[in-house]
Amino acid sequence: MHKEAAIREPLILGHKTYADITADVCKPIEDKAPKMWYVLFSIALIIGLYGVGCIAYLIGTGIGVWGLNKTIGWAWDITNFVWWVGIGHAGTLISAVLLLFRQKWRMAINRSAEAMTIFAVFMAGIFPMIHMGRIWLAYWVVPLPNQFGSLWVNFNSPLLWDVFAISTYLSVSVVFWYIGLIPDFATLRDRVKRPIPKKMYSILSFGWSGRAKNWNRFEMVSLILAGLATPLVFSVHSIVSFDFATSVIPGWHTTIFPPYFVAGAVFSGFAMVQTLMLVMRKAMRLEAYIHTRHVEYMNIVIMVTGSIVGTAYITELFISWYSGVEYEAYAFINRFSGPYWWAYWSMMTCNVISPQLMWIRPLRRSLLFTFIISIVVNIGMWFERYVIIVSSIHRDYLPSSWSMHYPSHIDLGVYVGTIGLFFVFFLLFARFFPVLPIAELKTILKSSGESYKNAPDTHGHDGHADDNHNTNNH
């Protein structure tokens, strides 16, 4: 039997019962959507459709409508790709890594963070695809038998590793998310009265019945998927960083990239989770489940990963001088004092200074402060990718080909459009899907719920060691 220390703050506030948890999570789905939902959904949809229009124009005309050029062959597109993939790192990290470390607080945020991950990786995937120009030939990245002799894709190329990494990450994240959703869809199926939703949730729940053996398998599958997804999370952004690190461009050719990119991804992913959760908990009245303690835990993760990122920036800067390679040194001097100095210093301010404020306890427990910092961090992380990509290649070895990147309105439209589409998906998720893992929350109610936690132990002790279980029910 596990009993949590009394001084540990409860994870579920108030005097909740199992039925309360079900009711609280299902209420926003069963009620009519508030007006605000329609307003936000319409705004997101309009922005998203504008983005789709820009993409259609881009595909019809060619990538010359973007602001990139011969010197700066990668610009906003790959910046946005890396930014979205980075954001897409929090969900699976929260569910997988925190599950392995038996962090129960993940249950407040894992479901929506996973949803966010999936939608963010969708958005990320758009950019390399449209960057190909001829998107209808995108299947060429897959090793298929073909008519060009027996020409295969190049398995030595990090760009191809990326194809495998991103698609594996996306599909495994979807499976992980959906397996957790099935029992909760069953709860909804057994609750809703109207025939059409009942039919829908009945199909979505796959006929889940909650037998003892089903739950036994459920826990094993969750554990193994977590075990598989943990190295996967780390591999995906490492491979994204190889896109840069294995090239010989000064500013990219760095062994520090994989850990630095992974930390940056977790950093931005958690920031995005904060942005979304802080609004969602209020709008959906889930304050009892996602409260200051959870926000504080996430802020600590942001602080730690932000410090890793800051250390990496300074290490890069130091090594560019210490290596004695003049091209490397120039790349960095140009970064902070060249024409893109404003991007560099925005990045430094947002990513190095702002997370350090989280050392102050009242600040990291302040919801308003957290919300502001979470947006600042994501702006900073966008600039990081822009700095790495554009400032490293805009002045290459030949001064005659030096150039500048000015985003076109299509660049802007596609980027803003993906943000719109992301929110379209997320709002639909929040409207129709259980945003908290109902079944999993019930397993921690007795150990971490406020009303049970400090009550005297009334049940007998049972001697069963729960070896492969991440939670407990006393």
């Binding site: 599909s171 495994v172 909650g210 599958v221 591999s235």
Partner: protein
């Protein structure tokens, strides 16, 4: 042959677990437990074996590793050896470092999807299948133990009911099935 099934419903997982322990000690066979979330520690009491899905995951994983290795060796070494900057590519081993990332990703891909599919099939859960929980409340806050008379032939119905009565259930229900 018609069979009688008794369902005892509880409103607390610990009460159900203690009850199950008591009944099993008296020789009653608990045929099934339906619950809205995993009740930890119930499996050994009612005799549910631990799942072997982990072994399957491992088998799917090594299948993925092998497939990736065989395919990449064929693509990159035997079918169309790609000469990149004169790097050695005579054997797979010469170039194996470049193949590690894809091997890893494909291993994870096969393990995760193979296991998920096996999980669906073994649980008999697939889109559109009907649910079989005896009461809709078992996905909310109720816990149900199922007793099949055929598996409890040592007891008469009355004996079994009176034994169940000592476990603190909230509702008792029975059903005849063919």
């Amino acid at each position: 042959m018609a069979e009688k099934i008794i369902y005892a419903m509880y409103d607390d997982d610990d009460v159900l677990k203690d009850g199950a322990k008591k009944l099993v000690a008296k020789g009653v066979k608990v045929s099934e437990v339906f619950s809205p979330f995993p009740i930890h520690g119930i499996d050994p009491i009612i005799g549910v074996q631990n799942t072997r899905l982990g072994i399957m995951a491992f088998l799917y994983a090594i299948t993925g590793t092998m497939l990736a290795t065989i395919a990449m060796r064929y693509f990159m070494i035997s079918d169309w050896p790609m000469n990149i900057g004169g790097k050695p590519n005579n054997t797979y081993l010469d170039n194996i470092l470049a193949f590690i990332p894809v091997t890893f990703e494909f291993t994870v891909l096969c393990a995760a999807h193979g296991m998920a599919l096996t999980y669906f099939l073994r649980n008999k859960i697939l889109p559109g299948l009907p649910a079989s929980n005896p009461d809709p409340r078992t996905t909310d806050d109720r816990f149900v133990m199922e007793f099949r008379m055929s598996e409890n032939s040592n007891f008469t119905e009355e004996e079994l009911t009176s034994l169940i009565q000592t476990t603190g259930y909230v509702e008792l229900d029975q059903k005849e099935v063919k």
